[in-house]
Symmetry: C2
Subunit: 312 residues, 2 copies
C-alpha cells in the first residue's frame, strides 16, 4: 500500500467513528469550532531518520527548526495562527553529546519567533533512528478558515513564492553536498506563517493548502475536494534559483502556499500582498468546471502527465 492508499483506508475507518463536532481527515488540519466565532485546528506530522532526513546531513538545530516549521505550515495554510504544539521525541542511544540540546534550541527559537507554546509530548528511547512527531494546534476566527474544498470555477490559482528549491536541495544532500546553499534551503524551510494568517483574513481567498508534495500533486487535492478542474500555465510557474521546472512542479517540501482566489478581486489581493510582504503572489492558472487538470505551455495544452513527490 502506498501512502495515499493507506490514508484512504484509514479515512474509511475514521468515517465509521463519531465526529464529535470535529471536521476530520481531508484538509491540512482537522477543525473544531469552539463557539464565539472561534475555531481550533489540529495537525500531526512525523519525521523519521533515514526517510525524511539523514542524521549526518542535517545539523540537529536545523532539524528542530524544520520539524516545527512543517507543522506550523499546515496550521497557517488553514488561514489561522499556530498557538501550541506537542512534541514527541524518540531518541536512540548513539546521539552525540549536546545533540538533543541543539535540536531543542532550533525548535524553541522558531517557537519563540511565532509565539507558539510547547504544551506537552513524550520522550522515549528508540532502538533505531530518531523519530520526531509534532502535533500543532492553531486558533483563529472560524470565518478565516481556508479549506481545500472551497475552490470555485473561475478562481485564479496562485502560489506564494518560487518553488523547487527544496527538491533541488534534496538532490544536493543525496549527493553528499550537505553544505550547498540549496541543501540549506532543504534543511531550513521558511514556512509561510504570517502570509497564511494574512491570507486567511482575506475573503477573496477561497481554497488554500501548503505545498508539501509539489504543485502537481497538491493541486489535485484541491481540485478533487472542490469537484473542479484547472488549467495551469507552465511558463507562469515561479521556479526558484537553482531549481528546474520539474522540481518546481513535483518537488516536495517547499512549504509555500497554494491558493485560489476570486478572479474579480485578485489584482487587488496581489497588490495588497506585495505591499504587505515586499514580494509577489504568483498567478499560475485558473479553476475550470472540467474536473480535470490541464497543463498549458504558452496557452497550448501539453500532453505530459506530471506527478508529485511521495513521502512514503
Amino acid at each position: 500500500m502506498g501512502e495515499f492508499e493507506l490514508i484512504a483506508a484509514i479515512k474509511g475507518m475514521a468515517d465509521g467513528l463519531p465526529a464529535n463536532g470535529f471536521e476530520g481527515i481531508g484538509d491540512d488540519c482537522a477543525v473544531l469550532e469552539i463557539g464565539n466565532g472561534e475555531a481550533l485546528v489540529f495537525t500531526s506530522d512525523a519525521l523519521c531518520e533515514g526517510v525524511h532526513f539523514l542524521r549526518e546531513a542535517i545539523p540537529p538545530r536545523a532539524l528542530g527548526d524544520k520539524a516545527l516549521a512543517v507543522n506550523l505550515s499546515d496550521v497557517a495554510s488553514m488561514g489561522v495562527a499556530p498557538v501550541a504544539v506537542l512534541l514527541s521525541l524518540s531518541l536512540p542511544d548513539d546521539l552525540h553529546e549536546g545533540w538533543v540540546e541543539e535540536l531543542m534550541a532550533g525548535f524553541t527559537t522558531l517557537a519563540k519567533q511565532h509565539e507558539v507554546a510547547l504544551i506537552g509530548g513524550d520522550t522515549t528511547r528508540s532502538q533505531s533512528g530518531v523519530v520526531l512527531n509534532i502535533t500543532a494546534i492553531g486558533r483563529g476566527a472560524a470565518s478565516h478558515l481556508k479549506r481545500r474544498r472551497d475552490a470555485r470555477v473561475g478562481d485564479v490559482v496562485l502560489v506564494s513564492d518560487r518553488l523547487g528549491a527544496s527538491a533541488a536541495g534534496l538532490k544536493e544532500v543525496l549527493q553528499g553536498n550537505y553544505h550547498a546553499p540549496l541543501a540549506a534551503i532543504h534543511h531550513h524551510p521558511v514556512a509561510e506563517i504570517e502570509a497564511g494568517c494574512w491570507l486567511g483574513a482575506r475573503k477573496e481567498v477561497h481554497a488554500m493548502m501548503d505545498l508539501s508534495d509539489g504543485l502537481a500533486s497538491d493541486l489535485k487535492h484541491i481540485l478533487k475536494a472542490s469537484a473542479v478542474g484547472a488549467e495551469v500555465e507552465l511558463t507562469a510557474i515561479p521556479v526558484a534559483e537553482g531549481a528546474t521546472l520539474r522540481e518546481a512542479l513535483t518537488g516536495g517540501e517547499d512549504y509555500k502556499l497554494l491558493l485560489t482566489a476570486d478572479a474579480a478581486h485578485c489584482t487587488r489581493l496581489m497588490a495588497n500582498f506585495e505591499s504587505r510582504f515586499q514580494r509577489p503572489l504568483y498567478p499560475v492558472g485558473h479553476i475550470t468546471a472540467s474536473k480535470e487538470l490541464h497543463w498549458l505551455e504558452k496557452g497550448v495544452e501539453t500532453v505530459q502527465e506530471i506527478s508529485g513527490f511521495c513521502h512514503f
Copy 2:
C-alpha cells in the same frame, strides 16, 4: 540524560515560550479552557518497536488497541472524556500482509467503544521499526478537571484496581511466553475511561493521574506537584493475581487510576464507586504535610527505597 532529566530540560525550554492560554507540561494532559465552563485537554504518547513492544510478541490488533488505550487513559485520568485522536504511523517495509489492517482494526474497535473520533495524523515510511504516535484530545467541564497539584493534607490515597499484572506480563513476554495470560494483560491494558470520567465529576476527588510508571514513581509526581507527603501501607496495596508486591509498586503500564480524596467523604465515594462499577476503590494510604513519602508495613515504617519503572 534520563527520561525525567530530559523532560525537565524540555520543560525549562517550554517555560521560556508563551502559554497562549494553555496549562502546559506537568500533568497527564495540557489544558485549554474554551469558555462556557468547558475545557479541552491534550496528550501525546509514542510507542516504539523494540522499546515499548516486540513486533513478534504482540499481535497488531492488540498493538492498535494498546496504543490508543494508553492515550485515552491519560485523558480520562484528568477527569474528562476523550473525544478525538490524531494517529501518526511510521511503518517499515517488512510488515507482513494485513498487518496495518489488523493494527487499525484494534485501534478503531476501541475508538468506537469509547466514541472517539479519528481526526488526522500522518503515515510515513520507517527505515527501522514501527513507531506509533497518538495525540488524544479530551473535552469536559472545566470544574471536573483533576490535576496532580490538588492533593491536600489528610486526603486518602486510593487506586482504582489491582496492580502489577502488566509488569508480571512483561516478564512473561521477555521470557518468550507471548501467550501467557499475564502477557495478554500486558498487551491489552484496560484503561479506566468510564471510571476516570465518573471520578472527574466527584468533588471529593482532589488529585488524580494514571499509573503508567508504577505507584512508587507516580505518587511522587502528585506529592511534588501538591507540595505534600504521604504514608502508604504496603499491606493495603491490591496486588493483581500472578504479580508480586514489588511489581504492584514499581511495575509500569497498569493504566489504573491513582487519586486522592477528601477523607471526610471517602467512605461514601468508595461505596458509590463500588455500586457503579461492581468493584472497589482501594485506599492505600493518606496525604501528610511532611513532603516525604513513607512506606509502612502494618503501620510501622519500612526503610526500603522503592523506585518506579522507566520507559526511557
